[in-house]
């Protein structure tokens, strides 16, 4: 009986249904906790582009006191009624740049809130194997990079996956987005071990991971262009304030 085709088919079906049901239940009941973790990770990453986080820092409290979330459109106008945390970058990425909702995270001066101290932009793109994303923080001139934070879903460990490492991310510090009035972006070069400290738009590459670097370069170029109007607008008000 145990060898009959009918028994085997029914057995396989029953196993599939039971396992599937158990997994669906687990996934649904654990989702709130997992989402909270992802949200915390996002806040941590945003803060980490601007400041050095220490072990035991209350990320949620720091974030709510320092960061002002806004959503803007391609023209640099503030979109009201949309919460930055509800904007899913991966979904917006599929749209044309002109139609994307763009979250921006501003670190305002504590005493004078009209002054932006740092602006953090989310970035999203495609590496060699899968999605890459992250945050880029600009200094108050809205041109110089304060810090970056990159994450990846499936880059090769030891090669492309190095973009998550501090040693790679520190290379972006102090680089410039604009050259005069135009965006020139920051380009990771091919090959490793060259000193680009005198060039504000080039960073040293990752040996063996040129294609991931290309993905990072495209991602930055794409998103700097998205935020160009916002950055320029705020740079103007900044110079007026001075």
């Amino acid at each position: 009986m145990r060898q009959s085709n009918l028994y085997i088919i029914l057995y396989a079906a029953a196993i599939t249904i039971v396992c599937g049901g158990a997994l669906a239940f687990a996934s649904q009941s654990l989702k709130p906790l997992q989402d909270a973790n992802i949200e915390l990770e996002r806040k941590k990453n945003i803060l980490a582009t601007v400041m050095q986080l220490k072990e035991g820092d209350d990320v949620v409290k720091l974030y709510s006191s320092l960061v002002k979330e806004r959503v803007i459109d391609f023209q640099g106008n503030i979109k009201t009624g949309v919460k930055a945390s509800s904007v899913i970058i991966a979904e917006q990425y599929k749209r044309k740049p002109e139609e994307r909702l763009l979250p921006i995270y501003e670190f305002r001066n504590q005493s004078d809130t009209s002054k932006i101290e740092n602006a953090v932009m989310p970035v999203f793109g495609y590496g060699l194997w899968n999605n890459i994303w992250g945050f880029v923080a600009l200094k108050s001139d809205l041109n110089t990079v304060q810090g970056v934070k990159f994450e990846h879903a499936g880059e090769t460990p030891g090669l492309g996956a190095r973009i998550t490492g501090d040693d790679i991310q520190i290379r972006y510090k102090g680089k410039m987005v604009f050259d005069g009035d135009n965006i020139r972006s920051i380009v990771m070069q091919k090959g490793e071990g060259v000193d680009y400290s005198s060039d504000a738009h080039k960073v040293d590459g990752m040996s063996g991971a040129t294609l991931t670097a290309k993905g990072v370069n495209n991602m930055l170029k794409d998103y700097f262009a998205c935020y160009e109007n916002y950055l320029k607008k705020n740079q103007k008000t900044l110079s007026l304030n001075l």
């Binding site: 085997i8 057995y11 196993i15 396992c19």
Partner: protein, 222 residues
């Protein structure tokens, strides 16, 4: 009355104590003479991959132990119903179920660790230790011994993982469980990069096998 007591006695005689000598061996054998990594040489891939630091190695060991033990129990319970022609795929389905459950729980409660382990938790599905124990033990044994067998093999795997991770993290990165040992002692220590590479793990596993074999008096038979 008397017949009832007699019956109880018979049942008691048949029932094996939970931790009989045989059952204890199920736990202790995999730790040494039947170790999954150093003797059966199974699960080497993950032993090389997750042992650069002790924390992921520890979580991975616990994860594998849970998966091995619970899949063993489930397969053992089902062993008389599983059609032999599709037994491997049924085993695989049960293992995958437990692995995904472990992965989901890790994502919910220890997100950092789950990010670090990422693909390796998923790879427990194809870990030869789990499949090997299901096929070799759980398919022909009762649930309780199968449970012990899973725990034993998980422990055997975990012990080697922790040993390798200890050496690699201490001499490769100068810390234990993330605690900077050498810094705390006031010694500047330049980490040994080789130990952090998979090759370093291979060498350490090799040394452990060497030591174990010379203690146990193992001889290659020709």
């Amino acid at each position: 009355m008397s017949t009832a007591t007699a019956e109880v006695e018979v049942v008691e005689k048949k029932a094996e104590p939970l931790f009989s000598k045989k059952n204890k061996k199920l736990i202790s054998n995999p730790l040494d003479i039947d170790n999954p990594i150093t003797v059966q040489v199974l699960g080497i891939c993950s032993a090389l991959a997750v042992t650069t630091q002790m924390k992921p190695a520890f979580v991975m060991s616990i994860g594998l132990m849970i998966v091995a033990a619970s899949s063993n129990v489930v397969i053992s319970l089902l062993r008389n119903t599983i059609p032999s022609r599709i037994r491997i795929i049924v085993q695989l389905a049960i293992v995958s179920l437990w692995v995904i459950l472990v992965d989901q729980v890790l994502k919910a409660y220890v997100y950092d660790v789950s990010k670090q382990l990422s693909v390796f938790v998923g790879l427990i599905i194809t870990n030869c230790i789990v499949m090997g124990r299901l096929e070799a033990f759980a398919m022909s044994n009762k649930p309780w011994p199968s449970f012990l067998d899973g725990i034993g093999n998980g422990l055997g795997y975990g012990i080697i993982l922790m040993m390798v991770a200890f050496v690699r993290e201490l001499f490769g990165g100068g810390s234990i469980f993330g605690f900077k040992v050498f810094e705390a002692m006031g010694i500047t220590y330049q980490g040994n990069g080789l130990l952090l590479l998979p090759a370093g793990a291979c060498i350490i596993v090799g040394i452990i096998i060497w030591i174990q074999r010379s203690i146990n008096g193992y001889r290659e038979t020709h």
